[in-house]
């Protein structure tokens, strides 16, 4: 039977965002200026490499943004034609990782272990001994774990490694082929030029990133079928699965919150800068009021009120997932509605500069209406600021989520998020002996995501704001590089 697809609020917005990005891509492809700027972004090696990691995260996010509820088998005696659906809402990612979801242990277990972390007192030959029982799923295929465990891990690890390298090699060949076609050059010649790092786009760095992603992913995938790669948490759930689920929460918060700031910031900022006078005064008053409340307090106040409202209307949601999803959606809205002041200020100042320029003056002399001038002449010329601020805010919002979740106004505790994971990990780190793997998984994934976003954002800023490029740290020019340049 067909499962019932559930369109959650954040799902809908995430997919709407994908459509908008596709539209933007068309705009970029048509405009030579934008195309040149984006080319500049990818000329930056860190930005290019991190964009690969981010693309992987986006794939995970999108897979995790398709939700469905399975149809249940009709119970005997139930009226025909009525299909009951499972109360558990699954996502596309859950379907891919269904093994991980199903392989639930009793409690903590170390990464890759076949024994439980907990010890039971068992009597063996009349003597009481403390023994760690075997895990239900982790390493369950081993008949003689003490001898087989290490060799099994190694063989699986190497298989995964080989698989990952093979995948990366396929990717590299595909890249060479595409480049060769684009440059109208021979395949071997193109591969050689990539290898020598010629050309303006650092493809070699991208290839190394691809190899790194491929090997890590390959090893993880080949091990995760039979072991818990990052161990299990207190209720026996796989930590790797949780960490992967956190990616969607982080991306939804990062993207939706920044998008939510845009309408108010852009409309009000441009209006204030263009009309000046009392409109400007009024808009300035609005954002000064908003920004004069310490941000976290304002967010806390809004989120508290939202929670009271949701508590008052428990009947609005069919399942727990829908409820926590609406909470996430509203959290993003709150973050957007409280965070538009700085961008608005920026756009106002820029618009004030632009409106004095000749082309705007000319347009108004021709009798073009104010609305049309703002839309056609001012907006396209402040759009780069919008882009820069949006990308730069993305990572700080992911970090902010962790703090908000700790304070108690973040995402729903039932939803996986980096903040929630760190919060639990904090208690686990004070246990004796230490349970460190949840913390390490959260740390590793969060730093990777945030660092990639930061590097990508720096690349975007440097490409779209020429002033920022002067502040890039540069390595001293070596003799070798000088010689190479002279040769060329």
């Amino acid at each position: 039977m067909m499962p019932k697809f559930v369109l959650l609020w954040t799902d809908a917005t995430v997919w709407a965002l994908v459509v908008c990005l596709a539209a933007y891509a068309v705009v970029v492809a048509r405009s030579p200026n934008l195309r040149a700027s984006w080319r500049k972004v990818f000329r930056d090696a860190p930005a290019l490499c991190s964009s690969l990691i981010l693309a992987l995260c986006v794939v995970i996010t999108l897979a995790d943004s398709v939700h469905y509820r399975l149809a249940l088998k009709a119970a005997a005696g139930s009226p025909a034609g009525v299909v009951a659906y499972d109360t558990v809402t699954r996502s596309g990612l859950d379907w891919v990782l269904s093994d991980l979801v199903a392989s639930r242990e009793v409690t903590y277990s170390r990464p890759l272990d076949y024994r439980s972390y907990r010890r039971d007192t068992v009597s063996i030959n009349g003597q009481l001994q403390r023994v760690s029982p075997r895990l239900l799923h982790g390493g369950a295929q081993l008949s003689d774990p003490e001898h087989q465990w290490v060799s099994d891990l190694l063989s699986r690890g190497f298989t995964g490694l080989a698989l990952g390298v093979a995948m990366a090699a396929v990717g590299a060949l595909a890249l060479f082929g595409l480049l060769a076609r684009a440059r109208h050059a021979g395949f071997v010649e193109t591969a050689g030029s990539v290898w020598r790092n010629e050309g303006d786009i650092p493809w070699r760095a991208a290839l190394w990133t691809l190899v790194a992603i491929g090997t890590l992913a390959g090893i993880t995938v080949s091990l995760m079928g039979e072991y818990h790669v990052f161990g299990t948490d207190t209720t026996g759930n796989d930590v790797l699965y949780q960490a992967l689920k956190c990616i969607r929460t982080a991306f939804v918060i990062g993207s939706l919150s920044t998008i939510a700031t845009l309408p108010l910031a852009v409309v009000l900022g441009i209006m204030a800068g263009y009309f000046r006078g009392w409109v400007d005064e009024l808009i300035q008053y609005f954002y000064t009021v908003l920004s004069s409340v310490p941000n976290i307090l304002l967010i806390a106040a809004c989120v508290l009120m939202m929670q009271v409202f949701l508590d008052k209307h428990p009947d609005l949601f069919e399942t727990g997932v829908e409820r926590s999803d609406v909470k996430l959606f509203l959290l993003c809205t709150v973050l957007g509605l409280t965070g538009w002041a700085s961008l608005c200020r920026l756009l106002r100042a820029e618009t004030m500069k632009l409106r004095e320029l000749d082309y705007v003056q000319a347009a108004s002399a021709f009798g073009v209406g104010a609305g049309r001038i703002m839309l056609r002449h001012v907006f396209p010329n402040v759009a780069h600021l919008m882009l820069i601020v949006t990308v730069l805010d993305f990572s700080s919002l992911i970090l902010y989520e962790a703090v908000l979740s700790y304070v108690g106004v973040g995402v729903d505790p039932s939803m996986n998020s980096f903040g929630g994971m760190l919060n639990l990990a904090r208690k686990e780190m004070s246990l004796d002996p230490v349970v460190w793997w949840s913390f390490f998984a959260a740390f590793g994934f969060m730093v990777t995501v945030v660092l990639s976003v930061n590097l990508f954002a720096d690349g975007v800023r440097d490409a779209f704001d020429p002033r920022a490029r002067a502040f890039r740290p540069r390595l001293p020019i070596t003799r070798k590089a000088v010689a190479a340049r002279q040769e060329a």
Partner: protein, 327 residues
């Protein structure tokens, strides 16, 4: 200068009015006092009598904005909005919504002292450390030190402050046992409780600030007066410390100053992680207990401090940069 201050203060009052309206709207209109009463009394057997009693105790038993039962000015003054606003502006905060807790006013002033013990040294050290690190990078610009210094900054600012706290407490308190995990004593011994939060908070923000300040320094270095100074034959250190540092102070004052409200409000996360009974921990407690009166007070206090800070920053401008005249 004086007339400027008066004008700024009046505008500040206008902003405060706006904040007051906003918070009142959030806390009373989105959810009515009845909802709050029901939430605070809790349990299943909430009767209308209990709700009414709770509302009378806290003075929430009046209409929100307009009292139709009264005539003349009392129509607007005999309402919750008017009473709450007036008492807030007189800095009387009333009692907290929670059953057991007492008045908010004395609690706030007591906790503000604790917050400042943490935040004041932190603020000073933060400015010094970030400026020093940024200056170091600028002194060695276009070398490996600068490059890897900026790489370190980016790495450091990609790490959540929670991670700094968790690792710091684990390494310094649990493994090395050189600092207590958390706690507070109201005497000079408090230093040993403050060292770890101060150091960790410093590290958590160093990446962001040092990178920002570095950019500010580099912006100044490109200017003509620096070239003149070099042309005069001044050594690079003299150029940096005597000319660039002093001119870059202006943006640094702004950026550091925007953090001043938190000197009084305390750091939410650090205070609650290290068991310091400051205002930050107070807010977190209030949020978990859903004590709206406390949150409302803190929002008001926060914006009051914020507005005061920005007037102070403007005054500091004239002191740092004689070119700036307030008028």
């Amino acid at each position: 200068m004086f007339s400027y201050l008066v004008r700024r203060t009046l505008y500040g009052l206008l902003i405060l009015l706006g904040v007051n309206l906003l918070t009142f709207f959030l806390f009373f209109t989105v959810n009515t006092p009845d909802d709050m009463a029901r939430l605070n009394i809790g349990g299943k057997h909430v009767t209308q009598d209990l709700i009414d009693k709770w509302k009378v105790e806290r003075g929430y038993d009046k209409p929100l904005y307009v009292n139709d039962a009264r005539q003349g000015a009392a129509r607007f003054t005999d309402t919750i909005f008017w009473e709450r606003s007036v008492s807030l502006f007189e800095l009387r905060f009333g009692r907290s919504d929670a059953e057991s807790a007492g008045d908010i006013g004395p609690e706030v002033s007591r906790r503000m002292g604790v917050s400042m013990q943490l935040a004041l040294p932190l603020f000073v050290l933060q400015v010094i450390a970030s400026t020093a690190f940024a200056l170091l990078l600028v002194m060695f610009r276009h070398t490996r030190l600068d490059f890897w210094g900026v790489v370190t900054c980016v790495l450091m600012l990609s790490i959540s402050s929670l991670i700094y706290i968790i690792v710091g407490q684990f390494v310094f308190s649990r493994s090395l046992k050189i600092a207590p995990i958390s706690g507070y004593v109201p005497s000079w011994d408090v230093v040993k409780f403050l060292v770890l939060p101060i150091v960790l908070s410093l590290l958590a923000r160093l990446g962001t600030e040092a990178r920002l300040y570095r950019a500010m320094f580099l912006e100044e270095i490109g200017k003509d007066y620096v070239r003149t100074a070099r042309a005069k034959g001044l050594p690079e250190t003299a150029v940096l410390f005597r000319h660039v540092l002093r001119n870059a102070l202006l943006p640094i004052v702004t950026s550091a100053g925007s953090y001043l409200p938190y000197v009084f409000l305390g750091s939410l996360v650090f205070e609650s992680f290290f068991g310091l009974p400051g205002l930050g921990a107070y807010v977190i407690d209030a949020i978990t207990k859903q004590d709206f009166a406390v949150v409302r007070t803190m929002v008001f206090m926060g914006s009051l401090l914020y507005i005061a800070t920005f007037v102070l920053i403007d005054v500091a401008y004239t002191w740092v940069d004689p070119r700036v005249r307030l008028g």
